[in-house]
Amino acid sequence: MQVPVVEQIFSANDQLAAANRARLDAARVFAVNVMASPGAGKTSLITRTVEMLNGDFRIGAVDGDIATTIDADRIAALGVPVVQINTGGACHLDAPMLQSALPQLPLEEIDLLIVENVGNLVCPASFKLGAHRSVLIASVPEGDDKPYKYPVMYRGVDAVVLNKMDVMTAFEFDVDYFRHGVEVLNPGLAFFSLSCKTGEGLNGWLVWLRDEIKEFRQQF
């Protein structure tokens, strides 16, 4: 006998992600899920962002890593509350992991929650967390063909940050080719090219983030 099911495999995770979102909304916390391959500059962009916005917003962070607290320590050194999630080998954060991290943060005292996902260009795309926006960081040394080789990651995000523009001359990186691949998969998304190291281009990213937070707050 055949039994029709027609159920999304990710439905359990998606439901928990919705619960996370509701909890963040209730506390008026705007959350950003930051994804990238290892070494693209997730922690660098986060520490830069904290440094630049810390006076204007109360910031908190959740840091996912397979092992160690190296990244969490870098962020905590800036004086913001950080919860470390060691995934114990899992290649991505999922909604249950964020759910267990949220009670460890003073949500009522946070305006912006930055979630640093596990460094990986495949898996995090499939697991919603409940964040309000998803950002993918690419970096020049990774090559300009990544949107074509990892289409899923580029498909579901709200913004792409192209980092390490300061080393552009050392690599053959065609920004137009890269952007074209991104645009096909995800028309109209926000795009920023910058260098966390030199600070060049950071302002566009910060303006976007400020505007998103402002828009988020206007709904209440």
């Binding site: 290649c91 499939s126 289409p151 691949g181 096909v184």
Partner: protein
């Protein structure tokens, strides 16, 4: 072995067992899954974990059937739809490079076969 297929396979099992129980079935013999090319799921990994997680359940030994759905692009210039492959996402008909992805995100359990 990609790690995320383990939790995914557990989700598949939970969904299948729930629907089998609702149907008063005592054994699940087959699961029909639909997987889009853009869903980043590896059949072989799901199969590998399936044999482990389904052990000692009424789904033990059930066959996994994967229906693959290709990633599809639609040309914004001429409207032609074509499979996602190649290096530049160019339309094979008119050569334009303006296209959008319109399919291939699917990942669901379509049906189960039970006794």
């Amino acid at each position: 072995m990609p790690m995320h297929e383990l939790s995914i396979t557990q989700s598949i099992l939970e969904i299948a067992l729930r629907h089998a129980e609702q149907a008063d079935a005592h054994r699940i013999t087959k699961l029909n899954l639909v997987i889009g090319e853009l869903a980043t799921i590896v059949d072989d990994s799901v199969q590998f974990y399936w044999d482990i997680v389904s052990r000692d359940t009424i789904a033990a030994g059930a066959e996994l059937h994967f229906e693959r759905v290709p990633g599809i692009l639609r040309c914004l210039s001429c409207g032609h739809t074509f499979p996602l492959n190649g290096r530049d996402y160019a339309c094979p008909v008119c050569g334009e490079k303006q296209a959008i992805a319109t399919g291939g995100d699917e990942f669901r359990l379509e049906s189960i076969e039970v006794e």
